[in-house]
């Protein structure tokens, strides 16, 4: 799976370039996220603006990365579409991952 990486103001921006993240992609998704976190992505924003669907395995990968990142709040989400947001709300992960409208807002929140 393709993941775009970028850095803004010391914050790693991860943008999965996929419409679906499901069980078949979760292994790859998890290892790529881990790689980024371990290579300096202490403050991370996952930009989900391309994503239309994420399943339990994809969520599992994100939660796993969150745990590796250590402290709650170090991994933040942005660009979450309604379908994905409803999954995050249903599973109460919206309480675990801070969600922002845009990359800019998410990056700025690290400076607060």
């Amino acid at each position: 799976m393709k993941i775009d990486k970028d850095f803004q103001e010391g914050v790693a921006i991860i943008r999965p370039d996929e419409k679906h993240i499901d069980g078949y992609m979760a292994v790859d998704f998890k290892s790529k996220l881990n790689e980024i976190i371990q290579n300096g992505g202490e403050k991370t924003v996952i930009d989900l603006s391309q994503l239309e669907f994420i399943d339990s395995s994809g969520l599992g990968a994100m939660v796993s990365v969150l745990k590796k990142a250590g402290i709650l709040g170090k991994v933040k989400l942005c660009g979450v579409k309604d379908g994905v947001k409803s999954i995050l709300e249903l599973t109460r992960l919206d309480k675990v991952f801070p969600i922002y409208h845009s990359v800019k807002e998410a990056v700025a929140s690290f400076q607060e």
């Binding site: 679906h20 499901d22 069980g23 078949y24 979760a26 292994v27 998890k30 239309e52 669907f53 399943d55 339990s56 395995s57 969520l59 599992g60 990968a61 939660v63 796993s64 745990k67 379908g83 409803s86 999954i87 249903l90 599973t91 109460r92 992960l93 675990v96």
Partner: protein, 420 residues
Amino acid sequence: MTRIIKNPDKVKKAEIVVGIPSYKERDSIGFVVSQIDKGLSQYFGQKESVIINVDNNSPDNTGKVFLQTKTNASKLYISTPPGTRGKGRNIRNLIEAGVELGAKAIVMLDADLKSITPRWIQYLIEPIYMGHDYVIPIYVRHKYDGTITNNITYPLTRILYGRRTRQPIAGDFGFSGKLARAYLTEKTWDENVYEYGIDIWMTTIAIARGFKVCQTFLGAPKSHRTKDPGTSLGPMFFQVVGTVFKLVVDFEYLWKDTSKSFPTNIFGFGLGVKEDPPEVKVDSSNLFKKFISGLKEYRTIWKKIIAPLNLEELLSVQEVSEKKISVPADLWARILFDYIVAFRDKLVPRTKLLNSLIPIYFIRTLGFVNATWDMDIKAAEDFLETECRIMEDEIYYLIAKWNQTPRKDGIPSIIQYLEE
């Protein structure tokens, strides 16, 4: 169900009913009956009480030994017809008898108990007179006694129904006449419930239907026949876990709203008995070997049931030496959730599905043994508490997976999801 009844004391009503389910317990039932009788005389002497042996027509004269044991309380023997087995069938007979006799309090106690004292009767019945409907014992157990409880029934009861009841399949329970009547009207009795699934069924129904549940601190260790957790599990694993999974399907509306667990009231402060529970020896190599042979036998089935991410992590646990193996609590929770959803969807026949979980349960047990090897009972309890909290955090995974509607090509559809 046809019943064989022997009622030499012509019992027609009773306020307190104490039942002993049995099958071939000739050598142990006499002691249990004597302790129950002493407890009834000492603490509830003014109440009309009966001791009932609910038996599976034991060919070893269990019933005869029961009826010949001298007691102050009346006795009643009820058996299933010859050839009909199952603890749940005996308990069904006990519940029906309790309701027919108009009991306010019903207690069930295993026939192989060695550590029962008269005070157990007081501690199991008094909470019912104080307004509780279901009383679950807490007793000290060896850290490797009750691995199905520690790894499956206790954490899942916490995660799914939000109640911390440390021994949900204790087998020794007290319950009110009101709850007994409710049990009889339940539609969820099935073949597993009529067998060893009965204990977790009773606990789950009591919690799920909103009855007042408490724990009672018996203090003394439960001393009964124990065995290495790696020895043959027999049908018990299948019946208990099958019942847990079936109830998850039945009570979907409840667990989706459970966000965290709460402690359950504890009655009493223990009985002041400071005994070490009987040691349970574990053959670690055997647990590992059973996982490896399970891997060969069930790999294809695991691929169908377990999500790729979880399967990859599971298969990697064997890459370290046997003494260092660990199945992390979050992974174990997600694997159980994968199994629950596969059980609902009948991805593979349910017998095969449950059998394929056993080797994973063994490797999880090995990980628990490794992690707690140098710990005393208290430290092992603290470790388990931490593990359960980690497992609770994975509930999101079950909810997400439960709501996925697989497309024909196996890829979940967002449109189908949103239409639900």
